[in-house]
Symmetry: D2
Subunit: 339 residues, 4 copies
Amino acid sequence: MIVVVAFHAAGAVKSRLEELGFRVEEALAGGRAVLCGSGADELLHLDHLKQLRAWEGVEEVHFSQPSTKVVGQESRIVDLGEGVLIGGDAIVIMAGPCTIESESQIFATAEAVAHAGATVLRGGAYKPSTSPYSFRGMGVKGLELIAAAGKRFGLKVITEVMDPRKVDLVAQHSDILQIGARNMQNYDLLHEVGQSSKPVLLKRGLSARYEEWLMAAEHVASSGNEQIILCERGIRSFESGTRNMLDLASVPVMKELAKLPVIVDPSQATGKRDLIAPMSLAAIAAGADGLLIEVHVNPEQAIKDGAQSLAPAQFEALVPQVQAVAGALGRSVLLPVVA
Amino acid sequence: MIVVVAFHAAGAVKSRLEELGFRVEEALAGGRAVLCGSGADELLHLDHLKQLRAWEGVEEVHFSQPSTKVVGQESRIVDLGEGVLIGGDAIVIMAGPCTIESESQIFATAEAVAHAGATVLRGGAYKPSTSPYSFRGMGVKGLELIAAAGKRFGLKVITEVMDPRKVDLVAQHSDILQIGARNMQNYDLLHEVGQSSKPVLLKRGLSARYEEWLMAAEHVASSGNEQIILCERGIRSFESGTRNMLDLASVPVMKELAKLPVIVDPSQATGKRDLIAPMSLAAIAAGADGLLIEVHVNPEQAIKDGAQSLAPAQFEALVPQVQAVAGALGRSVLLPVVA
Amino acid sequence: MIVVVAFHAAGAVKSRLEELGFRVEEALAGGRAVLCGSGADELLHLDHLKQLRAWEGVEEVHFSQPSTKVVGQESRIVDLGEGVLIGGDAIVIMAGPCTIESESQIFATAEAVAHAGATVLRGGAYKPSTSPYSFRGMGVKGLELIAAAGKRFGLKVITEVMDPRKVDLVAQHSDILQIGARNMQNYDLLHEVGQSSKPVLLKRGLSARYEEWLMAAEHVASSGNEQIILCERGIRSFESGTRNMLDLASVPVMKELAKLPVIVDPSQATGKRDLIAPMSLAAIAAGADGLLIEVHVNPEQAIKDGAQSLAPAQFEALVPQVQAVAGALGRSVLLPVVA
Amino acid sequence: MIVVVAFHAAGAVKSRLEELGFRVEEALAGGRAVLCGSGADELLHLDHLKQLRAWEGVEEVHFSQPSTKVVGQESRIVDLGEGVLIGGDAIVIMAGPCTIESESQIFATAEAVAHAGATVLRGGAYKPSTSPYSFRGMGVKGLELIAAAGKRFGLKVITEVMDPRKVDLVAQHSDILQIGARNMQNYDLLHEVGQSSKPVLLKRGLSARYEEWLMAAEHVASSGNEQIILCERGIRSFESGTRNMLDLASVPVMKELAKLPVIVDPSQATGKRDLIAPMSLAAIAAGADGLLIEVHVNPEQAIKDGAQSLAPAQFEALVPQVQAVAGALGRSVLLPVVA
């Protein structure tokens, strides 16, 4: 840790660091002191060290130690079993409806996406909605339906959990626990999924900086669960022409920083059906390890997000394009064993 | 509700609206049809009506009914008892440390702020922190301490609840349940506090639009609790010179839209001690019903947020300035009965 | 044009529209009037029609006519001569230093990028800089050097013009007139380049919405110059991990809206050398018609933007990857005839 | 200047700094070297020093010298003559129409605002507009009219200049040269007004950070004109409920940083008539030295910005409120000598 401090305040800051167990070296130059502390765990004293910034005379505090202990230490591949690996050479496509609406809807969609090349089935049983008067999902019945549909068509299953009291329930029916953008900093929920044995997909918050997203993953990992997939789904910006602003630079940045698989959700990111294909291809070219795409057997009849859902035929046309771009980069698309 | 739709698609849209129970009038002009639906509850059919936007030929959908049923219907004043009203003529000042650290710290701060003119004591027992290695608060012990300190110095108490499983516990010790910015769209938590008998202070999310903030309040209100205070605490922007960007236009906008009391947190908004006083005065001039200010008996020793906390003497100097600005606008500052 | 207006105000609004020459049809429904005006040129009365929004009783004003008369009417390919077309099947790579520094620097860089596969040489002779104490460019001497280097290595030339008084001068030396992000709404400059015979590359402003970018192009086009290339170079956001936030959704959106070629500048967008390659590939996958990349013979010695410049060997390694992704999408990269 | 650099790269960086004329002290600690350079003018070597960030091994570069040489050195009051000082104890109110439309309109508005308490008359003769089909202003005739109206009613005059070729012309008719938000980084224009003898009002760019705004002022000041007034007019954000987002924290921040007068434009900032009064009062409470308010004799007939213009009676009602808030803070409002 390096602290740049006005000359007159150097003594006080040095003492404080030494009290915390740091060995401090001091250099005087340019009218200021530069203190270099080492020999203790900065994260253990994080709150105190942050407070240094509030001290009279302190100009800059630079941490030497990374802000994480678990995430970013080594590259991870998330293993869903039966050969479905996320973060390896092969790209994984997750597809399905925004919301589970009925048995026929989820089964028909599952069949269509499995046939076209998806390996994971998505669908919400618990839906966060801006309005309390919107549909909140089928709940337990929805969980049972998506689990059955996945099993029937050889697909792994991903669904969202919003309530820390429902983590165990959702984990019984889903292969991946999805944390939505609105809950990226819902720490009680993060700690609860951190104690689950199921992998976690952590969506980026609407206004989350890279470092905050990284730290949210560290909340999960430091609670015990290191099987984490990051999902870029667009951030909030001034542009209203798309629902959110897809930040594809986050893909290489977060892969480097967190050393976790990063996938992209082009449906949420753009809110527009016509933009799903170009943004899916761009995501793969940027290095994404997978895609999370909204597909509905009948988008015009969807309860939610129809405007950002592909029809099965459109999804089926997209997969070979994804394969072509992946191939150009020396990667492939993981295809389902049984479809 | 008014739907502007291409001529060829008008029939299909009209039928769908009639199926939902709307009486539909139609006008043809400029190559398009304008459908006006009435006679049914739009909110009951919200998901279906939103889907209209995804229909082929539909250009615009305008709702006639407000998006809320409870919030915004009539002006509300939140009554904390013993004469402490929020949203009336008198401005309420809430002050205290970011984090409850010890008995002596919270009692000394409570005494100081009561003496200076606060009527509500703030302080966190459960702290959301970007890093899992930061202090997470004293928990139950913290709740007991702040309740005792409030009682001792005649102050009402506000503290944050993050976990839906802890709402009852926090409600036993606090006069107001604070929902933090990170949890503004944590709907399970909103529904839980919506079933409490204690008033709720709902902070604006980091990237929440006015309409989303309004709808978060409606989540609480539609669950049964209409005692809601809104708190502007700055939004996320590109400017890194302050911690957040304080949006004071939100004060008159949300008072008009939600008809709820709106207070301002200049500490979180700016992150800088020197900006607390000017932003407090500006908030009052903009029409805020109160202030939520971080005060610490010894900011340089604070575990958290020392840089944005006032020392007691600074807070004491600020209160008369707040009174002067309030007075210029024909308002006053509510002073504690016993201080 | 459709105006939704309170019943009592309909007469006044109808009269005003008729005075402007519109034929007005009226429908009454849901307690409001819907006025549909046609038969006159909305753009001729734009200011008056916008003012309707300020009128008592007016709720919504929807224009029927597109906001442009020239841009977006038909697809355009910009022809630089000698077979260099921008916006056709072949992707064009523009490369070169941020700033022209010396004869040896621009000639060596030109040779390297021509050899690797660029067809257009970039380089600034007039540099906008946040600080007045930064280098402002070599001026006329720089123009002469880049023109000579382009000619020597068979490259077309692009350079920025900032001052309306220098448009003719820059046009004498450059094949494309670049308008920088800071000047996207410098209307006097737009009108001046709109009277030039040289194609214009219009960078997106730091906080420009799609519609505003489109209208800036219309300023150029309505002044007489319809040879316009759009360039996405990242927008301003809250994320400080990259210099700007690259919005690749703008590529398909603006191609559809403006029907102009759209290229991407991954150097300005990210500010980081390591992100240039993944963002270049992502741009192509998103449908971009070209790339504008900073390349410097010795990035560590560059006067400006060294951190976001590729060394020649890095650029040479990138081109085949761009070709591979382009090929996967059925496109190619335009290669220089002489290199 | 302090450079934190990996141990192995310290030698190379040290040599480079010494070549530039710096005296370099070195401290080794925590596996890194800390180099402190002094004894030379950092701004003279700004481009080279910024490039250090691109060097292999360099982690951080901190400048010791402020980024400006003129602005921020000492507090300035801008003197418009005849007792009109901006930045002193008295608050100056500038008011008038968005656009000069006719002799009768500008004279009637001038009379009304002078009568109500304004000391400076605003009005645009050259108007920047997103659409090329909007009214671009009356030009020279507009300049003559506003100058005459100001003279007639004892008001100073402010009007915008957009084109560097028109600076002298505008300066002949106006007491203050206004630089609009779109042109904050139009450096050729800044240098031209920097050579004028008339004071400059520099509006904040739509996405300008404090430091960039400061540097834009330094562009003007370093060209020779130190009579600069800053104007906060709202920045771009994700919130569409107001036209822009008014950042009142910028008032105390920029007064401290630039030591220049800072005024606020609540009309542009909010775009809504009802928000002008609360935001005007909030601006004064935040410490603003003046207000720039759109007033039109008949807002419903205004060519532009009617929705954000006050009618004379509304403006007249606002002035005493501004006086009351100013008085509460120990300030006053400068009133016109003749009204």
